[in-house]
């Protein structure tokens, strides 16, 4: 491995890291929104919409992100829907992640007992306020381990962005290998930059998870 080559490539990878993080986290944000809305629709058993959410989950959980991105990026323009590669990345990751986040939030909501709802109702809370002040906070804290796992999964999935010509880490490595054939150095940097991206999330996740799992409220 050539040290000088590595140093000269770092700026490229840094730029790619920022792009990957930007699109990755925007996608995760979108997936969290979809997850919360979807899980709420399922929780309140909203007719019709509940069915749609179910179908959405099945479709996006049972197909690879790669083909979802291909479909959005290459196929949809043929029927007149055209979006940029960056938006496609955010949308694709958000839709895929949303399907997983709904499941995670839903199991959190299911873990809150019905009698908790009843006790809130008996204090005069409306259904909406019961959800907002009593059910949701408990469900969210129970969802945390699942959320952390989903976030790591989604950040890893960003590696397929390169297929729609987004200049993420993977794209940069491939591109540089193609141009200068410095395979070892590029693969080394690729691994290092993924570690930079994922290790902090993994560590923070592990800490939060342990707190939630072993302590519960009040320790």
């Amino acid at each position: 491995m050539d040290k000088d080559v590595i140093i000269s490539y770092i700026p490229h990878f840094k730029e790619a890291l920022f792009l990957t993080l930007k699109i990755g986290w925007l996608g995760i944000l979108l997936s969290l929104i979809i997850g919360l809305v979807g899980a709420s629709l399922l929780h309140f058993k909203v007719k019709f919409l509940q069915k749609i959410v179910g179908i959405y989950i099945e479709i996006f959980r049972n197909t690879p992100l790669l083909i979802q991105l291909f479909f959005i990026y290459f196929a949809l323009p043929k029927v007149g829907i055209q979006i940029t590669a960056e938006k496609c990345g955010v949308l694709g990751l958000g839709l895929l992640g949303g399907a997983y986040m709904i499941e995670t939030f839903r199991s959190g909501l299911e873990a809150v007992t019905t009698i908790q709802t009843e006790s809130a109702l008996s204090l005069g809370f409306s259904k909406a306020k019961t959800f907002r002040y009593i059910i949701l906070p408990q469900a969210l804290s129970m969802s945390i381990p699942g959320l952390v796992a989903n976030i790591i999964f989604l950040l890893k999935e960003t590696s397929v962005f390169s297929t729609i010509s987004l200049m993420d880490l993977m794209f940069t490595a491939k591109d540089l290998i193609g141009m200068y054939a410095k395979t070892t150095e590029n693969l080394f940097l690729l691994v290092v930059f993924y570690l930079i991206m994922l290790i902090p999330v993994s560590i923070i996740g592990a800490i939060v998870e342990r707190k939630v799992r072993y302590a519960g409220f009040g320790d």
Partner: protein, 249 residues
């Protein structure tokens, strides 16, 4: 008319099984009504109907002249007039004791934090739990949790409080502290409907005894001492007999 609660021809079924049939009951302000009866006789379901947690098939429940109906929009307002304490306490695990107490008055009734907190601390002190105000429910014993739950119900300023077997899940040595709190409330003139298996407590606190069996009121009397000494119906006599037998064991 000083009837706070008025139930007429209440009829309730689950999947064609009649759980409550033609219940009539009226409760005056300040009255303490104790409901007893064998397990599964419908007494808990009855309490849940009073609070609009169950839909009823026919009949009318009125509190303060207003009809209790889970489908009505004003059920939220009505429930503030009817407090309820559950067997399993149901404190909110994500909130500290003090937050458990003030959340409903603040978020539901839009009262000021300082004012509610002041009242909450006063009541907590009354049940000897002032030092626990910043703890979380999981750090409390069952008896302590139940006393907090009672205070929580009181802070909404209900006109009537329902107690659903509130000591049934407690260790024997904690039953007393909860019953004592309830007796104190009764002495202060609170209107209460209590479902319980604690017969001595029932005898001490009740203004009116109602004996439930198989979904109907079998015996209803204001003569509490008389009921326990010699009930008028055979079913109540049998129940009390069996009950005394098992407690003697």
């Amino acid at each position: 008319m000083n009837e706070l609660l008025d139930v007429k021809y209440l009829h309730k079924e689950f999947d064609n099984n009649v759980v409550l049939k033609d219940i009539n009951l009226s409760v005056k302000k300040g009255e303490v009504v104790v409901i007893i009866g064998p397990s599964g006789c419908g007494k808990s379901t009855f309490l849940r109907c009073l609070n609009g947690l169950e839909e009823i098939q026919s009949g009318v429940i009125r509190v303060d002249g207003l009809e209790v109906n889970p489908k009505n929009k004003d059920i939220v307002k009505l429930r503030q007039k009817i407090g309820m304490v559950f067997q399993s306490y149901e404190l909110f695990p994500h909130l500290s004791v003090i937050d458990n107490l003030i959340i409903a008055p603040m978020k539901v009734q839009k009262r000021k934090r300082e004012e509610v907190t002041k009242e909450a601390l006063k009541l907590l002190d009354r049940v000897d739990l002032l030092d626990k105000k910043d703890m979380y429910p999981r750090q409390l014993s069952g008896g302590q949790k139940q006393r907090v739950a009672i205070v929580r119900a009181l802070l909404v300023h209900p006109e009537i409080i329902l107690f659903d077997e509130v000591t049934a899940a407690l260790d024997p040595e904690m039953v007393y502290e909860v019953l004592e709190t309830m007796q104190e409330l009764a002495r202060q003139g609170s209107t209460m409907i209590i479902v319980t298996h604690e017969m001595n407590f029932a005898k001490a606190v009740a203004d009116k005894i109602i004996f439930f069996d198989k979904g109907e009121i079998v015996e209803e009397t204001d003569d509490v001492e008389g009921f326990f000494a010699s009930p008028k119906t055979e079913r109540a006599a049998k129940f009390l007999d069996r009950f005394q037998f098992t407690t003697r064991l």
